[in-house]
Symmetry: C2
Subunit: 343 residues, 2 copies
């Protein structure tokens, strides 16, 4: 039997070849098959099982400096992924180890062992949970509610994009962290039912059914203390209009603007930040990695106790990854959107 570490391997990968204008187009991407070289010392080869598609990736498709560098044209994109070591020249990561890493957008990943972190397999659950509630998605919800918006016992919490990956976790976490009332916004009655039945929300707003501001005023008659924003636009404006004195907003995403060709104007009621003494704080996870230990322990316990529901929308095949990404940007997912790329 040949030693897998000394052989090459084929990897199917998705590359960005043109910077999207507005909505990403098929022609902005290409799928290539590359040959991975034999493993170097200290390297591992990982067969990915799932890769993540996330809103922040849209920003990386643009030119220009942001908080993370843009994807390079003609190179394979990166992003969260989970898989299993299939060849190893690192004692720390033997063949068979389940790992999480950032070499997504490909079916086989390879590199220095330090790029891959072993994860605990949870019986009865696929590895993709480590891209969802036990991964960056869960950490995002946790950091936003705690370190950014300082959730307090009894807070009335409003979450936009509440049926999405982060939002579906944020509602449940808000409840576990002591919120008094949790209100979520999502598109359509089916998502609304999920919010109240599975994600810990007391009330659901269907933003497709009417103005968010009016629905929020009804759902939160005593106002909102904490707003977790995944959406921006009219949701942020509605939240500013509903927030109580001293209210706090964690700005996590602004999906309404990601594919806009013209800059989207901000809320027309910014003066409320002054008159209500509000705090708006934006964040990206890079600055908050030091909270992942605390988060990991708490979340693993809650998850094991069955106090957190984890839903995902799975798209099969790396050839459908770009479609999955676009669908996620349109709200086509419930819970975490992942692409099954093998396994």
């Amino acid at each position: 039997m040949t030693d897998a570490t000394s052989t090459t391997a084929r990897s199917t990968q998705v590359q960005l070849v043109r910077r999207p204008q507005g909505w990403p187009d098929d022609a902005d991407f290409r799928t290539v098959e590359v040959e991975l070289p034999p493993l170097g010392d200290g390297e591992v080869r990982v067969a990915n099982e799932f890769m993540s598609v996330d809103p922040y990736m849209r920003g990386r498709m643009n030119e220009g400096k942001s908080y993370i560098p843009p994807f390079a044209l003609g190179e394979t994109m990166t992003g969260g992924a989970v898989g299993r070591v299939v060849a190893s020249r690192s004692d720390g990561l033997p063949v068979g180890t389940a790992v999480r890493h950032d070499l997504g957008w490909r079916d086989v990943a390879q590199g220095t062992a330090s790029r891959f972190r072993p994860v605990q397999e949870v019986p009865g659950t696929s590895l993709s949970v480590h891209l969802g509630v036990l991964g960056m998605t869960g950490l995002t919800a946790f950091v936003g509610l705690t370190a950014i918006a300082g959730i307090e016992e009894g807070d009335t919490v409003f979450v936009s994009g509440a049926a999405g990956a982060v939002g579906s976790t944020a509602g449940q976490l808000a409840r576990l962290l002591g919120a008094g009332r949790v209100i979520g916004s999502a598109g359509g009655p089916e998502k609304g039912r999920l919010l109240t039945e599975r994600y810990g929300y007391d009330a659901a707003i269907d933003y497709k059914a009417g103005p968010v501001a009016e629905q929020l005023a009804q759902a939160a008659p005593d106002g909102v203390d904490l707003y977790f924003d995944n959406v921006g636009g009219d949701h942020l404006e509605a939240a500013l209009g509903a927030m109580n004195r001293g209210g706090r907003a964690a700005l996590c995403g602004a999906i309404v603007g990601y594919n806009a060709e013209e800059p989207v104007p901000g809320p027309r009621n910014m003066f409320r930040i002054i008159t209500q003494g509000l705090t708006l704080k934006g964040f990206t996870l890079g600055d908050w990695a030091h909270l992942s230990g605390e988060f990991g322990e708490k979340m693993a316990t809650w998850f094991a106790e069955g106090r957190i529901n984890h839903d995902e929308t799975v798209v099969d095949g790396i050839e459908n990854a770009v479609d999955a990404f676009r669908s996620m940007m349109r709200g086509g997912n419930v819970g975490k959107m992942v692409v099954r790329v093998g396994g």
Copy 2:
């Protein structure tokens, strides 16, 4: 000689009779002369010397709940004022005491002694300084820089409305509190000169001369750490565009919107709050009165040491108070705008 406490007195007062649509019109106000009754027990009568006109008053002219109740139609408006006790039935405030209080928009004020606070007279300075750097104006600048935006040694600070009452104080305070570089925006070259020559600014932006964002990028090549906003609109958008990671903004005023008949859209680059991890915090002084002791001590010392310049624009006569208010809203003042109503 008749005891002044037992006589009536005439007071000229300005009342709001109609809620302004957009810019306040002469017909929105009326000036009346009322007869004040003899003093009750524990009351004092004060001859006002100066009254304050401030941007926040525009909000009180509107209907509807804000952080302070609206001015009532057909009643005399209120606001900061300083004067001297001319009749007293309160042992704590004998005739001749200099006081600060909120019964402005009139030349003679009268009421329970507890509404009036004695102030220290500063030799060579008129009482109006207690409406300016030693009063609410100075406290606003201090609270914004410290408690709200957490000024740090070496910060690059940007202040809009920098030649106005709060702004001219904020520049000087920022310098005293350790800022590394202080940039101010005001309208016109004359104000610009004042910023750099009198108010502690390193660089001045003339917002009438070109886009704020371009000028700010030049004036702050290494970005802005702290933004003190008196203006809103394009200034806030420019600041968001220039702010460094982890930057903090104190939102104090949004004068561009106060007289707008349609709501003014917010910044088109709100996403920067997320990608740069910015914090925007609004405030009104009502929540921060507990800092007035600390402020008062520090500011009195700095002022006595000649480390704070206090400029004011004085309009004579209560009959010109509405004009003074409108002029201030258009930036017709340098430093604090006050109306001399007597004395």
